[in-house]
Subunit: 288 residues, 4 copies
């Protein structure tokens, strides 16, 4: 099994195909659609073979690509599109817990906590007053579990402790992702109806946040905010035309890097995270 | 029973005595000691009568008063004193969970989250390696549950969910407190070996964080960061010499205030919170 | 001359009328207009007598009142209204410097810095490339001078130092204001085409930011984020029906308060500031 | 002239020697001293030839190296050492302006603003009262000019506008630096008595902050918080033993990288910046 240098399902599919010199993967279905404002890629992982191939859980991964979130003329189109995709996978009236992963004190990893800050929670109000239920207000709560380096506790321990108490029907997990492509930072939103697999993202989670561990439908929203340093090194060598097969070399690079504790991110990451968080929290606030 | 406008045990004792025109309260013992750098007041709530009198759980409340934390020439003396008091109530080698209460996005209420940021957690390292235990490293973890207005979940729900999972032997709760006296803001540290009673502080907690709910010894560290608006109004009227008994009037003032959602705090509260958090987290990091 | 406990022109007018038992003030013209979504009050200070009466510089003060910025169904209407008012006073194509006053580390005082963060600056791009001018891009720059307690430098010293170098044609000053009414916090936006008078707001500015000191047209945008503690005390006494004329008593209250260094603000001020900043920066980014 | 991928004078000296196969550089003098707790390297740039060789202004660059600022048992030794070095270059009683460079919203670039927050300013107090001068209190002020991407104004424009008004005798500039070595992040403090040269750091400054532009003695304190991505790629290739001279390859790598807008930084950069800022601001507050 590949060790992927990206959290994006579509990038993994492409990488797997190149490495294995395939044009199709059994158990993986990919659809693409171009809109005026965005490109939507849907990766369906259909069976265990597909799961193994791209090391992603069975389910649907929808990626919305735009031309740089900082340069959107009109954010409402993207908000509407994300809301639409969320409504496809989140049943009406079901109670929601939004989980903002990541380290709020490190800019590219602060997406989750910023989305949580922007989400309009209702659970405590509904608990206080039956009145609001008549209006069809959905129960929404939200937490930031923090990162293990700051809490000493695995993120999943915190999340499952809370879900076993709060008992939400749907968990929406927000996280900063790693992509292979620098240009995808703040330009791509991945929405999936699967749990989050161990070791994903830059948050160092070690166990699954999924239906089994939370008792809820788990929806993930992730946006690339960092790129893998080995990918960059490898791309550089590609461009320098070193004669060697790229994937072999990538693994060698991984081998010589003594730490995985690097973050590679653009200088204007503060703006990117701020705007992305606003768009995602607005989308969540708008779902009916 | 009085509805107190302060979270400080010693202020409640004084208030109770004045209102009831007593010089002693059955079930309450007060000791004071003057040091060169601080004054230490110890309030012992000995029985149920004492509990009722000042609406505080049975146990010991130690208050360290200094002359303004911003103007300390040498912080190490205070760090040492807090560490000493913590070591009196925290048994050696017991595992600790530090809980930073309050809203990190509102300056006077951010003390808890700032202390958590400064605490050196070890639990995840000890879990990974038995090696560290040989050095007698204590297991420390830390969380910020957030506030109900942002999470939709009661703080105690989150804390007890986590304690029932992480199973710490000691919980140290950090919170911003309300005092009657403006001069006590950032000048007084209250340490108690009791849980936190409902509705204390400005965090709007509604149920107890105590041995029963957490299964752990609960130590509270609180520092006044806000004052009660009714107290201030009442003090003003005292000074204006309106003829009326102060406590009656205070209750009337409470009656006409339509909301409790005010915060009264000094303009330089950012510095006060920053320095206090540093001193408390250093004290916690230093305990053996 | 009155010492006012509010930065809002319309509140000063009302207060002045009550105190002096007048229905009209020479040199002051007030117009009100009700819209479906907001109430707009325009105070015109026409001459020196008006200036003296309400201690505000000659010019126009437009106040837009809404029912709580946190509960707006649709922010775009308010954004459009603020943009419209700004376009009335800011000539097309003129270069703008946005100045975010206040202490970014104290939540109710962070409005200015948050607006600055949201403003899309262009000056450096225009300097690099003549190309953008063809599209009619306006020159925009933005600074946060900080507060004297943190910098040791008067805010106006910093602002005038920068304006004398950057030479903007228009300066937009953003500040947190003090109101007499708790309900106006985050519910009222005051836009004026005059400079800012000494000692206004909670920022402790000591000299004018106006055409004379900056060489530019100065537009101020302010939103109440704190209320005056003496006002609250006085309102309480009003409600308690102490027999005494309110204004006399207010001055007595001021007399007994030993410090002006209090902030009185709502507990959810973090949300209020965040949303208000977003609305104001979007309005500024939209002006043509 | 070399285009260096580091802001550290000693790294540039080493690089220059390797590239040019020299053991000595005319105009550069290097001394090293080992202490129990730190290693101190002093690079003296003596003449124009030295300036050209390492593209650093004439003057003294003192680098204090420690074993990871996060793991210091006792911060006071380092505080004392920095204070000592600062006192060598800052004359007694001279007025100081501390300038915190960088983007406070991007974690590795927030060192400057965090130091400024910790500095105890006195200028405004001295202006109000002659009294303090008797105690020999030094005049200290502090500003954060922000970054061009947020202000639209070049950092030096803001700094020189303020120095020409405030007229400090000494300017201490604080900045996050770039190093060639990942292990040096948060482990090395460079203090120099020269101005800052264009394009240094990750702040994208374009003109000098020096005696000429500020009218003051300029002292710089910098700490590596990021590493150059090309260096990392090159080191990887070194370890992979690609047969090619390292420097040639480095330049090729630079050539194929299409943007310089990457930041490479460790995941725990939040702690590193926090602790470093505390140590530097304490050192500045302690100088006499």
């Amino acid at each position: 099994m590949c060790k992927f240098n990206t959290d994006m399902a579509d990038e993994r599919v492409d990488e797997y195909k190149v490495i294995n010199n395939m044009s199709e993967i059994d158990g993986i279905e990919v659809k693409q659609q171009e809109y005026e404002e965005f490109k939507v890629t849907e990766v369906n992982v259909l069976n265990e073979n597909g799961e193994k191939a791209i090391d992603k859980l069975k389910g649907k991964y929808v990626t919305i690509d735009i031309d740089g979130i900082k340069y959107l003329e009109d954010e409402t189109l993207l908000v509407e599109k994300i809301k639409e995709e969320l409504e496809k996978v989140i049943p009406k009236e079901k109670s929601i817990l939004v989980v903002g992963l990541g380290n709020m004190y490190v800019t590219p990893d602060a997406l989750g906590s910023k989305v949580v800050k922007g989400v309009e929670v209702t659970r405590h109000i509904l608990k206080l007053s039956e009145h609001f239920k008549d209006f069809g207000t959905r129960q929404i709560s939200a937490i930031c579990p923090g990162v293990m380096g700051n809490t000493g506790i695995e993120t999943t321990e915190i999340v499952t402790a809370i879900t076993s108490n709060v008992k939400p029907e749907v968990v929406i997990v927000i996280d900063s992702l790693m992509s292979k492509s620098f240009s995808r930072i703040g330009s791509s939103i991945q929405i999936s109806n699967t749990g989050i697999t161990p070791g994903s993202g830059i948050t160092g989670i070690n166990s699954k946040i999924d239906r089994e561990s939370t008792g809820a439908e788990v929806i993930s929203i992730g946006v690339p905010m960092v790129v893998d340093i080995a990918t960059i090194a490898n791309e550089i060598m590609d461009k320098l035309e070193y004669e060697e097969e790229s994937n072999d070399r990538y693994n060698k690079i991984k081998g010589v890097l003594q730490t995985q504790n690097y973050i590679v991110t653009p200088k204007d990451i503060d703006d990117v995270v701020e705007i992305t968080a606003r768009i995602i929290s607005t989308s969540i606030n708008n779902i009916v």
